[in-house]
Symmetry: C2
Amino acid sequence: MTGLTAKGAATRERIVRAATELILERGVAGMTLDEIRDGTKTSKSQLFHYFPGGKSELVAAIAGYQNSQVMAAQEPWIDRLDSWRAWQGWRDAVITHYTGLTHKYCSVSALVNEVAPTEPELSTQIAAYADRWLAQLAAGLHLMRDTKLLRSDADPDRLALAVFASLQGGLLVMQSKNNIEPLAAALDGSLAMLRSYAT
Amino acid sequence: MTGLTAKGAATRERIVRAATELILERGVAGMTLDEIRDGTKTSKSQLFHYFPGGKSELVAAIAGYQNSQVMAAQEPWIDRLDSWRAWQGWRDAVITHYTGLTHKYCSVSALVNEVAPTEPELSTQIAAYADRWLAQLAAGLHLMRDTKLLRSDADPDRLALAVFASLQGGLLVMQSKNNIEPLAAALDGSLAMLRSYAT
DNA sequence: CAAAGTATGGACCAGGCGGTCCGATCGGGG
DNA sequence: CCCCGATCGGACCGCCTGGTCCATACTTTG
């Protein structure tokens, strides 16, 4: 996988882009290798040339890329969720990122569950993305408790779990209703919940 | 479908039970008709005899049944979410119902999204279950605003949407972690959020 | 220019899936 | 007892899908 001419890199890129589009549109199960071929002026041999592991490897690559995109979109807030202002900024950043993706499969947790039955190791890999995300939320809340912005009897880990679940659910309902509002309501609700634990 | 011997009804019952088990275990896509056959001492012809519409009809039947189960488990709270006590009772009932189902595909919204690409009409039918559920939550909150338990500037519909999203997300994360805690955290968080809108 | 490595096309394959069909069997009412 | 519909078994079909293979063309480099 090291020898990569410019042409080859471009082809690989096209494959990834098309596959991403398909997964976001119809889910992993709804994406077929033949559709990728049709939509990219490539052939099966190329797909397996660039992704010897087949569909699993392709999905893994896309999941990794999408994850980095989502995390980047939450910058700089996600790294410093240590104030109410930061949480509000984070909320806005998340909404902005998902606006226009309302009808797409975007929930990592949903992806974990979808892949789990057939590809356990891939599933655990993706679950790691979710866990890192959750951990970032928790880290911010720990800071806030330490700096007395949160009551000392608040449980940062449990609150982070609630926020994370709410976020994933917001994405899920957003998709089924093709409307950003559920996500917005979920996030606003989460912030209200957090504030109820303020000092 | 009217002439149904006792024997026939029993067979139909066995099919539904096995299919339900498989769907809860591995999702709709992960369930095959052959597996149902293997696990029920039946044959393909019987499956199509009792469910002429094939897999779609079978899934529809199961979704309807499971939905009724979930809604029944929330009785009597779900019909009268007009007090803080009722909401707490509801929370407990939901947790109780899903305990032991932590590794199952239980989220209606997730089901809607899973089925959507291949079976649009089935998807909208299942979406109706979700909407009814959501509407019940909203109805309770409307009552609470009317009786001044909620501030007059609270938006019952939007709060209900947040609670619903949180619930579905809790189920999703519950499944991926095979642990009831995410659901519990999500529901407790939702209640805290609601209480922050109390008068 | 020539060789070695990379990129590409597309025919082909095996397996799994939902779904069909038909003949055999059962079982209850006239 | 006999008949007709309900019940049953399982072979079969067509299609789609992920994946393999090999011959051909293109690129780079010495």
